[in-house]
């Protein structure tokens, strides 16, 4: 079962996130539990590969919002960097960011299942 301590160990800023969840651990953990299931990670990866940067920016921007609101820093970092690059529709190789994002997402999925 996912715990606040596990999230902390994962690298999330749980203190800030809990404040934002009006102090409710249950709400925090429930919302965090929804994150790995989001289809937007895979959609972002596909959009970047297809060089559909408009769609990619919107997806990255949306994910960034959620990840920062829940202070899931390890995933938020690569997504935030990507968002800034995609804002100017920069044509480049995004795979390092995508790999980092998917790797951290996988870790979070494991944490949620454990």
């Amino acid at each position: 079962m996912l715990t606040v301590d596990a999230m902390k160990a994962f690298g999330a800023d749980t203190e800030t996130a809990l404040t934002r969840c009006a102090g409710s651990e249950a709400l925090y953990l429930r919302l965090v539990g929804k994150v790995p299931d989001s289809e937007d990670f895979d959609k972002l990866e596909a959009a970047v590969k297809a060089k559909d940067y408009d769609a990619a920016f919107n997806l990255a921007h949306g994910l960034k919002g959620i990840l920062l609101n829940l202070s899931i820093t390890p995933i938020a970092d690569p997504v935030s960097e990507m968002t800034e690059l995609l804002r100017s529709r920069k044509d480049m190789d995004y795979s390092p960011y995508i790999q980092k994002m998917q790797a951290e997402r996988k870790k979070l999925t494991e944490l949620c299942k454990s």
């Binding site: 934002r20 709400l27 921007h61 919002g65």
Partner: protein, 570 residues
């Protein structure tokens, strides 16, 4: 991601909670914000996942939604489109929008489009978000209340209080601009209401308001509706106000060719030297009052003459306290004679006040009575006179075996004073007098203002033994019906009947009618203002009981009146 609606049906103030619509395409963000808002316990939260869902909810609940928290980047219909749709709609416009965004540029753009505030992403600590939401709703609700109150509901013009506020601000920012204050009203407007009905009266007011509104818009000004049929304009200096009058006349003629409303205007020009907006409009109003009932003149300007009058009035108001303390006010007595006996006999007298001002000399009552009636200071003068009269009567009674009763005037404000009866009885006790020594003159118009209260008061005073005279009878609007229920002892015919009796037959008939009314009520009649033999003979012939006027005697100082008492006792 489908957003679920948490509430259905009427939302506003359900369990005293305000309704808030959260619009975000990310369900995690919606839920997070919902949890923050819930934690406050003051809100019912509605959710929408995009602009289209949001607009559907707004359409259904616009009357009850207190605020919209709006994400900008959304599929289908984005936040900017939602702001646009809300702001162009008459019904939705008042709903404040708080934008949820992480983009600086977007903040500026949304504020420019009419958003009330923004909440940055990632979200701030809940306390900050809640405070911003609360503040936004408060401001919006205050504004709604203000908007409801700032305008007169009938005419759509500003309400007077707001008009004064706006004009003060205008004045502050346009110090060098020459502005005019104009007061406009309609002569005998109540007659239009009475003759044509209230609905027509309202149409007249609306028509005038519409014309004025157009006029002030064209002349860099603002306008308000004051009390009843009064309008106030604060506009750029005009050389001539005839054009405005003509516009109003034409529009009223279009409304109906039956109604002839005489509009009059008081204008105070070049107001830039004055700071107090209420005082500026007082002046315009004073100018306007100078042509009340004068159908030849429609526009009056506040000029040096009026300014002199106003300064004089201010002086009198300032000096009244010393005047009373230093006994500058003098009581004069005008005798009343019984003319139905063989030879006229001194029967009583009316106490009248004069002001021996140290600087202005003798001031006649006409110069200060109506002024002091307006501001209630007349009560001080009345009380002074009553006390002086009581003092004189005590002295006369000590010297002479026969003394006549003296009548004193009661102003409207005295009549409504709940302590009146005890004040008068206190005077009687203090000076060893009987209430029958004091006649109380109450003007007819006071009777019609609040007849029930007056009737019970007069009944009480009469049961104490006071004699009550109805003053200026015939000048007011007493109905015959009211007269029969009115407990009075004497009718004093209004002076104008006697003064105009030479003019035509009708006036003589009026006097005869008054005599008949008095006969029907079984009360004696006093005629005032009798100046010559002819008037005297006629009044005697038609059965008038008592006469007061220059024909017998002008008002005289106490010593002279005492001389008459002395002669009567010899």
């Amino acid at each position: 991601m489908q957003a679920a609606m948490q509430q259905t049906g009427p939302i506003l103030y359900q369990d005293m909670k305000r309704a808030i619509l959260v619009v975000d395409d990310e369900d995690i963000n919606r839920e997070l914000l919902g949890a923050i808002l819930d934690s406050d316990g003051c809100y019912n939260v509605l959710y929408a996942a995009d602009g289209i869902e949001a607009m559907a909810l707004i359409k259904e609940h616009y009357q009850s939604i207190s605020a919209v928290l709006l994400d900008l980047l959304m599929p289908n219909m984005d936040g900017f489109e939602v702001i646009q749709a809300i702001k162009v709609d008459e019904n939705y416009r008042r709903i404040p929008i708080i934008v949820l965004t992480s983009e600086r540029q977007a903040e500026v753009k949304s504020l420019e489009m009419g958003a009330a505030d923004f909440i940055p992403k990632p979200y701030d600590v809940p306390a900050v978000i809640l405070a911003r939401v609360k503040r936004t709703i408060e401001l919006s609700e205050d504004r709604t209340v203000i908007q409801a109150m700032e305008r007169d509901s009938l005419t759509g013009l500003l309400a007077k209080e707001f008009f004064f506020e706006y004009s003060t601000v205008t004045k502050h920012f346009y110090k060098n601009k020459d502005m005019d204050a104009v007061v406009l009203n309609i002569d005998h407007f109540h007659l239009i209401n009475e003759i044509y009905g209230r609905e027509t009266g309202d149409q007249v007011l609306q028509t005038i308001a519409k014309t004025i509104y157009q006029f002030v818009r064209d002349n860099e000004g603002t306008a308000a509706r004051g009390e009843g049929d009064t309008f106030l304009l604060y506009i750029k200096r005009q050389s001539d106000y005839e054009p405005l009058l003509n516009l109003i006349s034409n529009d009223l003629a279009d409304l109906s060719d039956q109604i002839h409303a005489h509009v009059r205007m008081g204008v105070y020009q070049k107001t830039s030297g004055d700071s107090d907006i209420a005082a500026i409009f007082d002046r315009a109003n004073r100018a306007c009052n100078t042509i009340r009932g004068n159908f030849q003149q429609s526009i009056a300007y506040y000029d040096q003459e009026l300014q002199k009058d106003a300064i004089f009035a201010e002086r009198l108001i300032h000096d009244i306290h010393d005047g009373i303390e230093e006994k500058q006010f003098k009581v004069y007595y005008q005798p009343k004679y019984d003319i139905q006996s063989e030879v006229p006999v001194l029967k009583s007298a009316e106490a009248l006040v004069r002001w021996q001002h140290p600087e202005f000399g003798m001031i006649p009552p006409g110069s200060f009575i109506s002024l002091f009636e307006e501001n209630g200071l007349i009560q001080k003068v009345d009380h002074f006179v009553w006390r002086q009269v009581a003092e004189h009567m005590r002295d006369w009674k000590a010297k002479y075996s026969k003394v006549v009763p003296i009548s004193v005037n009661m102003s409207r404000i005295d009549v409504f004073d709940p302590g009146l009866e005890s004040k008068l009885m206190g005077l009687m006790t203090e000076f060893g007098l009987s209430p029958t020594d004091f006649h109380l003159e109450i003007t007819e118009s006071a009777y019609s203002e609040n007849s029930d209260q007056i009737i019970s008061l007069i009944a009480k005073l009469r049961s104490d033994g006071f004699i009550v005279e109805m003053d200026d009878f015939g000048a007011g609007y007493s109905s015959l019906n009211m007269l029969t229920s009115m407990p009075i002892d004497v009718l004093k015919m209004d002076m104008t009947f006697v003064r105009n009796m030479h003019k035509d037959e009708k006036q003589l008939k009026m006097i005869e009618m008054i005599m008949e009314i008095a006969d029907f009520l079984s009360v004696p009649v006093v005629a005032e203002g009798v100046e010559d033999e002819e008037q005297y003979e006629f009044l005697k012939k038609v059965g008038c009981d008592l006469i007061q006027g220059y024909y017998f005697s002008k008002p005289v100082p106490e010593e002279e009146f005492e001389q008459l008492l002395r002669e009567m006792n010899q």
